[in-house]
């Protein structure tokens, strides 16, 4: 693998990774020393983009001057694998656990035309958990097998293909993940650079191809064993952290309130005004209010089931803070100004969606 370091692309990408880490660290250090991180929250995304660009320019300028030894390249590649592995495991678990591509009930009841392209994409993938699970399994396996000596290049190709699919969706359905995904794609390409000519020979030229992964000469048996243990530990830790993070996000959705569902305001008149037409009490204590003119208000609600009190508030004001009466599919409460709201529960078709693996296994039983 190391003798292929002579490739310009390999050199540029290795240098790029080093410069990226250095420039981002320098920027964050600067922020810490000068501003005590005051600006980091608002400008970190630009810093991220700037670091990518600066690193690329620096890598192109120094493409022939940096002379890295075998061991350093090994560790750079290992760190790249760790980064990719963690991200792949994280995104995989996010899909399996239903954090990504969730379908809220208000969105299921909204017309397709009112959705943004990304929402359309989100709803589409969220509509079938099995499809998501297959992609997630691919990501998970690719992430883990990146550390395998034999299968690392196949894993990198698989990861590259999956990420290319996501990258294309990011571009055409206008999501906010374009930069991280393109970074991951570059990292995959970096892992593949030593074997580009071999891949070309096996797929196109039909020439002889030597084994991809020769034995590492600078590690003794003990060091190799420690490496394996550390890699297993890293994969386990990544999975644990990812699980914790995603579970924290999904937890509120697993315990919906008694009001969960869509509610129609009874006897409301269809006028182009701001009176309420429908209410959607989501699983995570958020509430979406659809006005008669079809605009949506996003709010949060809290419920006191002992004293039968409900409170709904948006960013600016308290919309409801009163007692409520709930009778199976009928709900009533009072808005400020003694305006009583009568609501009737209605069923929202949901494509038979299974949102996450918890629901999937529950349904299977």
């Amino acid at each position: 693998m190391i003798d292929k370091y002579n490739y310009t692309a390999q050199r540029v990408l290795t240098n790029w990774i080093i410069f990226f880490i250095v420039s981002l660290t320098a920027y964050l250090l600067f922020c810490y020393l000068v501003t005590d991180f005051a600006y980091v929250n608002t400008t970190d995304k630009y810093a991220y983009q700037a670091a990518v660009a600066i690193a690329l320019i620096a890598a192109l300028l120094t493409k022939s001057s940096l002379n890295l030894n075998e061991k350093l390249i090994y560790y750079i590649r290992l760190s790249v694998k760790c980064t990719l592995c963690y991200l792949l495991i994280y995104y995989s678990l996010s899909k399996l656990m239903g954090v990504m591509f969730t379908n809220s009930i208000s969105e299921l009841d909204a017309p397709l035309g009112a959705a943004r392209p990304i929402t359309l994409c989100w709803r589409f993938f969220g509509a079938n958990w099995q499809f998501m699970a297959i992609i997630a399994a691919g990501q998970l396996l690719a992430g883990i097998f990146l550390f395998s000596k034999k299968y690392q290049y196949f894993a990198a190709i698989a990861a590259f293909l999956l990420l290319a699919f996501i990258f294309v969706l990011d571009i055409f359905y206008i999501t906010h993940l374009l930069i991280p995904v393109s970074m991951m794609l570059l990292l995959c390409l970096y892992l593949l650079t030593p074997v580009w000519s071999s891949i070309e020979n096996v797929l196109l030229n039909k020439k002889q191809v030597l084994p991809f992964a020769p034995a590492l000469t600078f590690f003794n048996k003990k060091a190799k064993a420690i490496n394996v243990v550390l890699i297993i530990f890293f994969i386990s830790l990544s999975s644990f952290i990812s699980y914790q993070r995603t579970y924290k996000m999904i937890a509120p959705y697993l315990r919906p309130t008694i009001l969960f569902g869509g509610w129609k305001v009874k006897s409301a008149l269809l006028l182009s005004d701001s009176s309420w037409s429908k209410l959607y009490f989501e699983e995570d204590n958020t509430c979406v209010i659809k006005l008669q003119n079809e605009t949506l208000l996003y709010a949060t609600f809290s419920l006191d089931t002992i004293f039968k009190k409900i409170s709904i508030k948006d960013e600016n004001s308290i919309l409801v803070n009163s007692a409520y009466i709930l009778q199976t599919d009928k709900l009533s409460f009072t808005k400020p100004g003694n305006d009583t709201v009568l609501l009737q529960k209605f069923t929202i078709p949901n494509l038979g969606i299974q949102k996450n693996m918890f629901n999937f296994f529950k349904n299977e039983k």
């Binding site: 035309g113 929402t119 359309l120 079938n128 034999k150 906010h176 008149l269 494509l351």
Partner: protein, 429 residues
């Protein structure tokens, strides 16, 4: 042996011979002559006698032997129909019987290298011709058109999974182009021996996605897309030893020596000319057909002057103005008119009904007819019609009705107006 060409390492023992005979018969029965008449419409009638055999044999086999329910011979061209499944079972049986008879007749010790080569070549061309059809359908966006007005108004939850897939794909012309190009490139690459492996691997990737979508979103071509994926996997598998050695076993992959089917250079030259003529014809034919379809769709759209989404402003039934109560089951909320003559009425309680709308040549009267009920025709006189407003009055079943509608700007829909943005500051909502 210093090469790993698939015709070089096949041990032509009895098992391999029987397998090849079986697959040749199965493939010929499955594929011939569908791609010929698909690309040369003049010949479509010439094979009717052949198709009639299928249309007779398959329902008979299904109903009499497998004791299935009624099988409609009209489903011959269908997707995941009972006809198709029974046909595949029948073809398996016929191919198995044929292979057994062939094996009894032909017992001479000889290799099947040439036969394997021509069999592989047939699969390459058959698969390429099918995939090019689908590929061009995506590149020119005839397979997945942009969601129509009914779709734009339909809520997510009420869509069928397949409908949602169509809307998702149809939204992005660029994504259609990308997926279509992947299919076109893969299909073209498998037509050349040197690029066969990479082309087959591209098709395996693309078709895996297609098959997964077909299964997960209940698209009714699961069977045929699976067969196409199997063919692509077979083509990629021709180089499986080298691929396994390189990607999974970390062993040396030996160079591949190409099998040469022609002994004389003249034959090779002629085959090249035929191949290029075929490629040019197929590309031209697919482009022409899809472009013509697109143009005809655009033409139909122009012929429906009322096309649009209308909000009902005033609804007067029997001289009584009905208030827009959200629980009302009679008053209309929206009228959507789509090309060529389809209409949908959305009531106040969000339920929808489909109608056929006919506007006379003068544009002064229109007829609304309930789908599936030709007897119930509602005649209306158009009182006002301009860019923003439509008013008509007439009879609605046994009542008199006057409706005033306001046309909605389609660009109010985010999906239509969002456009492309490099920088996205907000998250999903």
């Amino acid at each position: 042996m210093d090469y790993t060409n698939y015709t070089g390492y096949v041990n032509w023992g009895l098992k391999n011979k029987i397998a090849l005979r079986f697959f040749i018969i199965f493939f010929v029965l499955l594929a011939f002559p569908f791609m010929i008449d698909a690309y040369i419409p003049v010949l479509s009638k010439a094979f009717d006698w052949y198709y009639d055999i299928y249309k007779t044999a398959v329902p008979w086999f299904g109903e009499k032997i497998l004791h299935t329910t009624y099988i409609d011979p009209g489903d011959f061209y269908g997707g995941d129909t009972l006809f198709s499944y029974v046909m595949i079972i029948l073809l398996f049986i016929v191919a198995f019987t044929g292979a057994a008879i062939w094996s009894i007749i032909d017992q001479k010790p000889r290799n099947y290298n040439h036969l394997l080569y021509w069999f592989t070549l047939s699969i390459r061309y058959y698969l390429a011709l099918i995939i090019l059809m689908y590929g061009f359908g995506k590149v020119i966006q005839t397979q997945f058109p942009y969601p129509n007005l009914f779709k734009l108004n339909q809520t997510f939850g009420t869509q069928l999974p397949m409908g949602l897939l169509w809307s998702f794909m149809g939204f992005s012309k660029s994504y259609n182009f990308f997926t279509g190009m992947a299919e076109v490139v893969g299909a073209l690459l498998i037509l050349f021996r040197r690029t066969l492996t990479i082309g087959a691997l591209i098709l395996v990737t693309v078709l895996s996605n297609v098959v997964m979508l077909n299964f997960c979103y209940d698209v009714s071509v699961k069977l045929y897309s699976s067969l196409e994926l199997t063919m692509a996997m077979f083509l990629a598998g021709l180089d499986y030893k080298r691929l396994l050695n390189v990607f999974f076993k970390n062993k040396t992959a030996l160079p591949l020596v190409e099998f040469k089917p022609f002994s004389k250079p003249t034959y090779f030259f002629i085959s090249r000319i035929i191949k290029w003529l075929l490629i040019v014809y197929v590309l031209f034919y697919n482009y022409k057909e899809n472009a013509a379809y697109l143009a005809s769709t655009a033409e139909i759209t122009k012929k429906q002057p009322l096309r649009g989404i209308y909000d009902v402003e005033i609804f007067v039934l029997n001289n009584d103005t009905i208030a827009p109560l959200t629980t009302d089951t009679i008053r209309w909320r929206k009228l959507i008119i789509e090309y060529p003559n389809r209409a949908q009425i959305k009531l106040m309680n969000d339920s929808t009904r489909g109608y056929t709308v006919t506007l006379d040549n003068t544009g002064k009267s229109l007829v609304l007819m309930r789908n599936g009920d030709t007897l119930q025709k509602n005649y209306f006189k158009v009182v006002k019609h301009n860019i923003n407003l439509l008013q008509f009055k007439g009879n609605w079943k046994t009542d008199s009705l006057t409706v005033t509608l306001k046309k909605m700007d389609e660009n109010k829909y985010l999906l239509n107006s969002r456009g492309f943005n490099w920088i996205n500051e907000t998250l999903n909502r």
